[in-house]
Amino acid sequence: MNTPARLRAWLFTGAVLALAACDGPQSALLPRAEQAEAIDRVWRVMLWTCTALYIVVLLALAYAMLRRRADRRREGIASDPLLRKTLAAWVVVIVAFLTAFVALSYAEDRRIRGGEPDLEVRITAKQWWWQVEYLDADPSRQFTTANELHLPRDRTARIELRAGDVIHSYWVPALGGKEDLIPGRTNAVWVTPRENGTWRGQCAEFCGLQHAHMALDVFVHDVGFFERWRDTQLYPARLPETATARRGKAVFEQHACATCHTVRGTTAGGRLGPDLTHFASRRHLAAGLLPVESPHLLAWIEDPQRLKPGAQMPAVPLAPQDLLAVNEYLLGLR
């Protein structure tokens, strides 16, 4: 038995992991909001305590296996008082650590819930995309977008979570923990971002065929920039500028596209799919599937089922020139 060798292997693996870059747009190891930082504190305490305890157990096991047994004296039967005292001490140690863990996790759990919100957003998860509504006391200042969440830095946002069909789970690791969106219930999370940047979230509760392609882009801006973004989003869609784009608008309104999608300021008013009013200002299409760029969008409109099998958007038969026109029209919706 070569327990020390195994132990070395473990320590080595740990060191490699610690050195490996843990950034990435969807990592919980680089907290960028107050709530994520609270969770990260729990994580650090537990990681190091548990690692230490783990090493203690393995060392004890190694000692038990490797100790010299030259003497054949009858030792350590159930009545051995030293072993019994050690057992009692071990239980006390475990209970002490657990009590500390419970207290810590309760204290940090209180921090990540609640707070006076500066901003209210409602996210409704659907198979397989996110509908994002910015709420406001003034109805004219409410608007709907999709698959993107923009937040002001150092402000607390309360995000109301609802589900349109099955259970989903909102999770943006850099900003905090996850919370389920359950039909018939309303949940909420609070987010207070601490750094400008772009992060990625993803549905974390298995929600059917395209659970893997249900991402949410999150942008954190300065307050001023955020307000400007919000004002832009309130405008109806831009009018098409080129002849092709104008044709695209007509095709969009007269074909099945408009049955499901809304483009504010046009006759397209479907409520089934994402609001496309400012589609081209978004980073990704189809909930993080592909970047909003011409060849990708063209392929998506032509046959969504090839790229995201099972998605609710059907392939709408369009003549090639109509397809190009719709593509150009959508890419102009900044």
Partner: protein, 637 residues
């Protein structure tokens, strides 16, 4: 061992042999109620399902090896991972542990057969038919698609069209019936069929663990029975249990499912604890240190496991104060686990360990299970769970506790008990190769998953984009999966090679402490020539260093001209009465067949329950028809 050297004893054995033997040929194969034959079938079937579910896991790891892979499409992937989870949990883990117990518990308590042996045969057939059903459905593209947890509404009628989820839910019904039957038999065997003198305080720890496990099965299974029946009726006849608009609730499913699902994990893990105690005891030649704390720890784990299901639901928006209660309850489980780990290490330290393959697997258990336990404490913390819940961190955690905590001890126990089961020893060198392949392969596969979860990879995704830092770790993990498969293959090779040799295992190859080693390997149909009397906790050992006990006291007085067993009192095991054990019968098989027809029929038509129950009733009536010649219970003189 008692020696038989005169003609009277030979006649005694010949008569026992004649009375307890199965009919020859196919009839005997179909009608047998011998717990050893049934258990062997159970073990082989469960291991076959293990291999099949393992192949599904390989398919998943192949799909996930590189980003944007297209080996499996989303629909097939969802079915594959749902099958993998369901088969591993319902058709492998619980049944294989019960199967080993069906074989070993009657031997360990010195009984002639398991209690209710026909029920035992029935339970095997029901289990087999349920397993065949779900694989046939999977082959027809009607496999489960909503995960092994089958959350509504995704598994409900509106989002899972067709019969996929119905077959899955009905497969659970099959395994429930089988598991409950076995649990009842084991409780009865342990409570009233122990050898005289084997008081509760002298029971082997494996028997204790199976007693607690069986009681947990009896209390946990009704919850999943309710939840899956509600789901079937929602889907088939339009009840509204899981429809919030009509007064139902989706969280009802989660509560019911996890009220079963969390104890389920301990139902799998608890027998493994007993196996570890048996292995440590045998290979260190030392009674386990702290018998009483060990038993109390088992019972405490059994109770606690029913009080912490909500830690699967921290992200569903339940009240924070309630969540914290479940955090505390979940973490409490670490106390009995810590006690047991301490006691085993103390036993090893004070004993004289022989590093045979089974002990090697136990050492592997320590390395893996303790790590899984640590991550378990982490996921019990509400804030931390909100980050890692439903990510690969959790996937890593439960594979560490289930494979490290249950499958490693199981392999160890199979190496130890294989001579008792098959009359042959497994090859030691192949066993060591298997251990190291499994151990290294397992860590390569699952350790990176901790990190993958922390850097954002959710569970149950059929593919993932590149550029999130997940690619290398997934590739590594997939490579490890093939190592694990190789290790499992070595076990198959080892068993196949052993079975080609003649049965030459000695009665007690390891110098074990309990009664199962006091008979031949494999034991005859009547188990023991005479009923043994037990006076210590380790009846085959004369002293604390495992010196062999040469003379075992026996009890006379049971009739040998018919199948008869001795019943003893539940606590002190004082002989109480004699019990006529049933003969082989075809009716358990026929009852299981008609039950299968009723269950499958009811997937398509609710009237299947009504009409299908008629043949079941007929089969049960014939099965239980009283026979005048066999008074069922008779007081001993």
């Amino acid at each position: 061992m008692t020696r038989y050297d005169d003609a009277a004893r030979r006649r005694h054995l010949a008569e026992l042999e004649r009375v307890w033997a199965d009919p020859p040929g196919l009839r005997g194969w179909l009608t047998t109620v011998d717990h050893k034959r049934v258990a062997r079938r159970y073990i082989v079937t469960a291991l076959v399902f293990f291999v099949l579910a393992g192949v599904l896991a390989l398919a998943m790891r192949t799909q996930l090896a590189v980003p944007e892979n297209t080996v499996l499409g989303p629909d097939l992937y969802n079915q594959v991972f749902s099958m993998h989870g369901s088969v591993m949990m319902f058709l492998f883990a619980v049944p294989v542990m019960e199967a080993v117990a069906i074989y070993m518990v009657p031997l360990m308590v010195g009984a002639r057969n398991i209690a209710f042996p026909r029920l035992n045969a029935f339970s095997y057939w029901v289990y087999l038919f349920g397993g065949l059903l779900i694989f046939a459905a999977f082959a027809l593209n009607i496999g489960p698609e909503a995960g092994w947890t089958g959350y509504t509404p995704l598994s409900g009628p509106d989002f899972s069209p067709g019969k996929r989820t119905d077959f899955w839910a009905q497969m659970i019904t099959f395994t429930e019936v089988a598991a409950l039957a076995v649990a009842v038999e084991l409780v009865a065997t342990i409570m009233i069929m122990r050898a005289p003198g084997m008081t509760l305080a002298r029971m082997p720890l494996f028997v204790w663990s199976m007693l607690v496990t069986s009681l947990m099965v009896i209390f946990a299974m009704p919850a999943v029975m309710l939840s899956s029946t509600f789901l079937i009726t929602d889907r088939l006849i339009g009840t509204q249990f899981y429809n919030p608009a009509e007064g139902g609730d989706h969280l009802l499913w989660q509560h019911l499912f996890w009220f079963f699902g969390h104890p389920e994990v301990y139902i799998i893990f608890m027998p493994a604890l007993g196996m570890i105690s048996a292995i440590v005891e045998t290979y260190c030649r030392r009674p386990v240190f702290g018998y009483t704390p060990m038993v109390l720890a088992l019972v405490a784990t059994g109770f606690l496991s029913f009080g912490l299901w909500v830690h699967h639901m921290f992200a569903t928006g339940l009240p924070p104060m309630g969540n914290s209660f479940y955090t505390a309850a979940s973490m409490l489980i670490a106390v009995p686990s810590g006690i047991q780990v301490f006691c085993w290490i103390a036993t090893i330290a004070t004993g004289k360990p022989r590093l045979e393959v089974p002990l090697l697997f136990v050492l592997g258990f320590f390395a893996l299970f303790v790590l899984g336990g640590m991550t378990g404490v982490m996921v019990a913390s509400v804030p931390l769970d909100l980050q890692v819940h439903d990510t690969y961190f959790v996937v890593a955690h439960f594979h560490y506790v289930l494979i490290g905590g249950a499958v490693f001890p199981l392999f160890g126990a199979l190496y130890m008990w294989f001579p008792k089961i098959a009359g042959r020893l497994l090859d030691d060198r192949l066993g060591r190769w298997q251990f190291w392949l499994l151990f290294i392969g397992f860590n390569v596969t699952f350790f990176p998953m901790h990190y993958l979860g922390l850097i954002g990879m959710p569970r149950r995704v059929y593919t993932y984009p590149t550029g999130l830092g997940w690619d290398t770790w997934n590739l590594l993990s997939s490579a490890g999966a093939y190592l694990v498969a190789l290790g499992a293959l070595l076990f198959v090779v080892n068993v196949a090679r052993a079975l080609r040799r003649p049965a030459d295992a000695p009665d007690d190859p390891w110098g074990g402490p309990d009664l199962s080693w006091a008979t031949s390997s494999p034991p005859p149909a009547y188990e023991f020539a005479h009923v043994h009397e037990v006076r210590t906790r380790t009846p085959l050992w004369a002293g604390p260093d495992g010196e062999p006990q040469l003379e075992l006291p026996v009890l006379h007085g049971l009739r040998t001209d018919r199948r008869e067993a001795l019943l003893t009192t539940p606590i002190d095991a004082v002989p109480e009465c004699r019990w006529a054990m049933p003969d082989p019968s075809i009716w358990p098989l026929l009852a299981a067949l008609s039950l299968t027809v009723a269950f499958v029929w009811s997937i398509f038509d609710p009237w299947g329950v009504v009409w299908g129950s008629i043949p079941v009733g007929v089969a049960l009536i014939v099965w239980f028809w009283p026979k005048k010649s066999e008074p069922s219970l008779q007081a001993t003189e």
